[in-house]
Structure formats: structure tokens, C-alpha cells
């Protein structure tokens, strides 16, 4: 990493996702959070940001409109409908936007697969899909590389109830829709289905995602190799990512289960869902920072975001 200036990032949305992103951005050696904007100074995220000495605003997107030079990159951690409005404005302002809502407006991005092409030609809007998408799509993609056709791919994620904030709950249909579209795009499967289970158990469960694939007669040994290699690529930016059931044949279906433990930044470790989408978003921002500060081509992934 060059010692050049850090990339200025703004975060809109001060819920769980936004607050966790703030902590991850502050830890990054190549990012600096120059604005944390929401609608309510009394939200717990806002209080935390204020305590951490970050520039805060309760004017949401207007804070960027009023001071366009405040940031280079915007993380949108609001909601899918709000993102559509934000993008109209931010596109005009030529800001690069990393979208953490399931709005599906930008190029769907999974860093282990396509971060570089998204940064190079993403049209300024990079969509981080969903937490379940970040956990499952790279595995599904690795399986899709083994054989020409996947007939059907299904991914089911269980997340702790406490890790799902109001926007996630309200937008559960958008979650399903965005995860399914991205699965189809990355695997070229004929059909895709995404399921999200909110688990109310106490103590909260870790995030788990199971990927089911119907695909001819897969070579399980090859599938395990491919999945293990992909998991290594993901671990570079999501340290808590782990394959707990390697590809296993069950009634003609290939089943793989992964677990994601969070870094415990804003919510405790069980909130792997929060962690994985945010680690992915930060990895993309760091790639943008590296491109901005260096003329040499930087291969992705380069190292841990907290290195």
C-alpha cells in the first residue's frame, strides 16, 4: 500500500450495516470515513459514530449534495427503495457507489469472483447483492465451473434474528429476489431459489448457508477441491468464513454448508451475515483506493482488510 492519501468514503444509513461498515472503514489502512449520515442523531449508530469522532449528519443524502467534495465513494446502507433515489443523485455527481441494499441497480459483485471487473467497468454502481448471496454465490460459482450445466441451484441461509435490522426484515422479498437473480447470473443455472430463515434462538446462532445443486453426476472430489480453493479466496477478506460440510452427495444433490462468524465489530460474532457483506464492500472500496493511489495493477485479493 502506498502512503498516498486515503480514499474518502461516506456511509449513508446508520443501522447495523452502516455502523459495522464504519468500524471496518476506520480500521482500514486505505479508507477514511469522512461522513456518516442518517436521519436521526439519537440512533445508536449515530451515537457510536459521534463518540468515535466521525463527521455525522442527520440529513442523509442531502449532506453529500450540499458538500459534494466530502467523499469519493459512497456506501449506501439504507434500503432498496431509498437506494434508487440516492443513485439518481449520486450518478449525476459522478460518485462511485457501493450498494449494500438489494436494489439490483448496479453490477452484482462478489469480490472473490469479479471485484476487478466491477471496479473497472461497473458504471459507478457496484451492488453487493445480499449477505446470503455473498456466502453462497462463490460456492455455487465454483461448482458451476466444474460442469457445463447446473439444472437447479438453491441456497438457504439461517441468520440470527438479532442480526437482522428493520430494513432487512421489511425487505425480505427484495433479499430473495436479489439473491436469486445474482445466482442465475453467476452460475447460469436453469432455475435458482433463495430462502432466508430468521432464527430467534438464544443464544443467537451463527450465520449458516447451505448450497444445494442438482447437476448431472458431479465428481465429488473435484467439487471439494474447487470449493476449498474458493473458500481460501473468500477468507482473504472474510476471515470468519468456513466450509463446515464440504460438497456431499445426498439423494443425487450436492450439498455444501458454510458458516460465517463475524469479527464482532458492531454486533457480536454470530452476525456473520453483517460481516460478510460489509467485508466484501470494504474489499471493493480498498481495491478502488489501490487503483486510485497506484498506477501499477494491483491484483485482487491482496490481503486482509484489517492488515
Amino acid at each position: 500500500m502506498s502512503a498516498g492519501p486515503k480514499l474518502k468514503v461516506a456511509i449513508i444509513g446508520t443501522g447495523n450495516i452502516g455502523t459495522d461498515l464504519l468500524i471496518k472503514s476506520m480500521r482500514s489502512s486505505s479508507l477514511v470515513c469522512t461522513l456518516f449520515a442518517g436521519r436521526n442523531f439519537s440512533s445508536s449508530g449515530m451515537k457510536k459514530a459521534n463518540y468515535l469522532g466521525v463527521n455525522i449528519s442527520d440529513r442523509g443524502i442531502d449532506a453529500i449534495i450540499e458538500d459534494p467534495s466530502v467523499c469519493d465513494v459512497v456506501f449506501d446502507a439504507t434500503s432498496a427503495p431509498a437506494h434508487a433515489r440516492h443513485w439518481e443523485v449520486l450518478r449525476e455527481m459522478r460518485k462511485t457507489v457501493i450498494d449494500l441494499t438489494p436494489a439490483k441497480l448496479g453490477e452484482p459483485c462478489v469480490p472473490a469472483i469479479n471485484a476487478e471487473s466491477c471496479v473497472e467497468s461497473g458504471g459507478g454502481n457496484i451492488n453487493m447483492i445480499t449477505c446470503g448471496g455473498q456466502a453462497s454465490i462463490p460456492i455455487a460459482y465454483a461448482l458451476a465451473q466444474l460442469q457445463q450445466e447446473i439444472e437447479y441451484i438453491e441456497v438457504a441461509s439461517s441468520i440470527a434474528s438479532r442480526s437482522a435490522g428493520p430494513a432487512t426484515r421489511f425487505n425480505i422479498d427484495e433479499y430473495v429476489d436479489a439473491t436469486e437473480s445474482a445466482l442465475l447470473k453467476f452460475t447460469r443455472a436453469r432455475y435458482a431459489k433463495a430462502i432466508l430463515i430468521l432464527n430467534p434462538a438464544h443464544p443467537p446462532i451463527d450465520m449458516q448457508t447451505t448450497i444445494y445443486a442438482k447437476m448431472g453426476t458431479p465428481d465429488v472430489t473435484e467439487a471439494r477441491k474447487a470449493v476449498a480453493a474458493m473458500a481460501e479466496r473468500i477468507k482473504v477478506y472474510v476471515p470468519g468464513y468456513e466450509v463446515i460440510v464440504p460438497p456431499t452427495l445426498e439423494a443425487g444433490r450436492l450439498i455444501t454448508t458454510v458458516r460465517v462468524r463475524g469479527n464482532g465489530d458492531h454486533l457480536p460474532q454470530y452476525a456473520g451475515n453483517l460481516d460478510i457483506i460489509n467485508c466484501a464492500a470494504v474489499a471493493v472500496a480498498e481495491l478502488i483506493a489501490a487503483r486510485a493511489s497506484s498506477s501499477t495493477v494491483v491484483r485482487f485479493p491482496r490481503g486482509k482488510s484489517n492488515a
Binding site: S158, P166, R169, F170, V176, L198, N199, Y212, I244, I255
Partner: protein, 337 residues
């Protein structure tokens, strides 16, 4: 005289008992029989409801569309009902189709503490002019006050009634009395109860629910439902008749309907198997039983150990993927956390 509305999930919960393989002709024959018996609501579909056919919880032999078509054709007096869980079913893919196909009653379900996932689905359906109930599943996992708080949310979204499910068959009658009383006192819309029979309490629990003020009761022909089955509909109708609880259901005709169900599509009458008892004791979702037995047999592990471990991990419906993980762990004889 108390009056209760009977909702009959034979063709929905029963689908769990046959790994979601009920056929079109089964939907047709039972809808006709229940309609003749004047059952107010006949619920149909995949065991986990609309849009739930999946590798995770089991693939349905027929599509939602086919099921709804057959049921619609064969119900004239009874209302056509469906169950749906946000996270499986979406407005765009599933609900709009069900609305346009003429489903009358929608029961929008979530886990007992997750009512706020149902807000937009309930809103959409009320907007479409449908009859909508909120359902809290696995209700034994929440204390009575929490259930009341969640039920209030459902009411505020527009639910015209709130049904709590004893999905694991874990309640004893006093548990039911406590929860139903709290709900009846805490919300203004009707309260309902959906029993499972793992501990042999389904009928007694349904009676306790009515005595505590519930006015919607679920019952299945022969108890055909997940795990040890539901409250046995024809028994409930008879018992309610003895207790002077009005249901409007014709006893002889519902007995006929139950005979038809047994003859045509219940391959194995629900019974309280040893494994069901263990599942009820540990408060694990009854719908897991088929997959647990299959995976236990394949991997040579004791299904009771799988249930005990699933109970420890507080597994809920939709976490079927945990079964194989637990089985593999047990197989390895690995020490579990």
C-alpha cells in the same frame, strides 16, 4: 355457547407426512368431502406453505398452481386457505398468483418472534381485499408476553386474527391456557390455536385453547400432519359437540371425509412414535422427522440423539440443513459444543 371457526390443514400439514407428495386427485377428493361437511376453511399446499417447495424442506410433487386450481374447482362453500412464510414466498412470485387464482384465506406465518417480516405481505393481501391471519410458529420458544407483543404487531399490519402454532407438539394444557389467555387479553382480533400431538395432548390442548378464549382451531383428518400429527379434526368436532362448542361442521360428514382421507392418501396413520416423543420433549419442529429418520438410517446414528442435539441448538423450521451436519458430527463421535 362458544363458537369456533375450524381451519382444516389436512392437505397442507399432512403433506409433511408424505414428504409433500400428495397428488392432484387427493386434493380433489378431500376438498369435495370437507366442502360437503361444511368445514369453514380448507388449507392446501406444500407443508411449509406457498413457494416452499425446495431441496431444503422437500420438493412438492405438484406445483402450487396445480394445487390451487384443483382446490378452487372442488370447494364451493368452504373457503380456500393457504399458509405462507416470508423468506420462502414472495409477493411477486407467489402471492400475486394465489390472489389471482382466487384463494380466500391467507395465513401469513413467521417464527414466533419475527412478526415484522410479515408486514408487507399482510399489507399487500389486505389491499387485495383478502381475509388475512397472522401465524406465530414454534410459539413454545417465546414467553407469553413476547407472544402478545408479536401478535400486536400482526394486528397492526392488518391481520384479522392471530394463530399460534405448537409446531413442536411441546405444550401441555396449562401452557396453552397461559398463552391463549394472554393473547385474548392483549389483542382485539380473534385468537387461534394449531396443535401437534407429540405428547398426546393435541385434543386436550385444543379444548384448553377454546376454554381460554380461542375462536379459531386447526384440526386435520385423522390428525394427518407433520410428526405425530395435528389435533384429529373429527375427534375435535365430536368433543366440541359434547362441550357445546359450536363449529357448524357436520359430524357424520367429517367422519366420512376422514375415512376418505385414510382410504385414499394417508399411507400410515399418524402415531406417537418413540422419535416423536423425543422431538416433542426437546421442542424440535415436527416437520423434521422424516429427514431425521432417513439421515439417521443412512448414517447409522440414533435419531433420538439427532433430535436431542437439534433441541440443544434450538433448531427451527427451515434449518433442515442442520440435520445432516448434526448426523455427520454424531457419526464422527466428535464432541459437540
Amino acid at each position: 355457547m362458544p363458537r369456533v371457526t375450524i381451519s382444516d390443514p389436512t392437505l397442507r400439514d399432512g403433506n409433511h407426512a408424505v414428504r409433500h407428495q400428495l397428488k392432484k386427485e387427493h386434493f380433489a377428493v378431500y376438498c369435495k368431502a370437507a366442502d360437503a361437511a361444511n368445514v369453514p376453511i380448507v388449507e392446501v399446499g406444500h407443508g411449509n406453505g406457498l413457494g416452499a417447495s425446495s431441496m431444503l424442506v422437500g420438493e412438492c410433487g405438484v406445483t402450487d398452481r396445480e394445487i390451487l386450481e384443483v382446490a378452487r374447482t372442488n370447494l364451493t362453500h368452504s373457503k380456500l386457505g393457504i399458509h405462507l412464510i416470508p423468506g420462502f414466498a414472495t409477493v411477486k412470485k407467489d402471492l400475486s398468483q394465489a390472489v389471482s387464482m382466487g384463494v380466500d384465506v391467507f395465513r401469513v406465518a413467521s417464527h414466533c418472534t419475527e412478526a415484522d417480516t410479515t408486514e408487507r405481505h399482510i399489507g399487500y393481501l389486505r389491499e387485495a381485499g383478502k381475509e388475512v391471519y397472522g401465524v406465530l410458529m414454534m410459539s413454545h420458544m417465546a414467553d407469553p408476553q413476547t407472544l402478545v407483543d408479536e401478535a400486536r404487531k400482526l394486528e397492526s399490519y392488518g391481520a384479522e386474527g392471530v394463530v399460534i402454532m405448537d409446531s413442536a407438539g411441546a405444550y401441555l394444557p396449562n401452557d396453552v391456557t397461559e398463552r391463549i389467555s394472554a393473547l385474548v387479553g392483549g389483542i382485539t382480533v380473534p385468537v387461534g390455536f394449531h396443535a401437534h400431538n407429540n405428547l398426546g395432548m393435541a385434543t386436550a390442548n385444543s379444548v384448553a385453547a377454546v376454554n381460554a378464549g380461542a375462536s379459531i382451531i386447526d384440526g386435520s383428518a385423522r390428525g394427518f400432519g407433520a410428526g405425530a400429527g395435528n389435533a384429529q379434526l373429527e375427534v375435535i368436532i365430536a368433543v366440541f359437540q359434547r362441550l357445546g362448542i359450536e363449529t357448524g361442521v357436520d359430524l357424520y360428514k367429517i367422519l366420512d371425509a376422514a375415512d376418505i382421507a385414510e382410504r385414499d392418501f394417508i399411507p400410515l396413520l399418524p402415531s406417537i412414535s418413540s422419535v416423536s416423543i423425543v422431538s416433542g420433549l426437546h421442542g424440535v419442529f415436527s416437520g423434521f422427522i422424516k429427514q431425521v429418520q432417513k439421515i439417521a438410517a443412512e448414517r447409522g446414528v440414533d435419531p433420538r440423539d439427532i433430535f436431542a442435539e437439534l433441541g440443544k441448538r434450538k433448531a427451527v423450521a427451515g434449518q433442515e440443513s442442520l440435520i445432516i451436519e448434526v448426523a455427520i458430527d454424531l457419526q464422527k463421535g466428535k464432541k459437540l459444543q
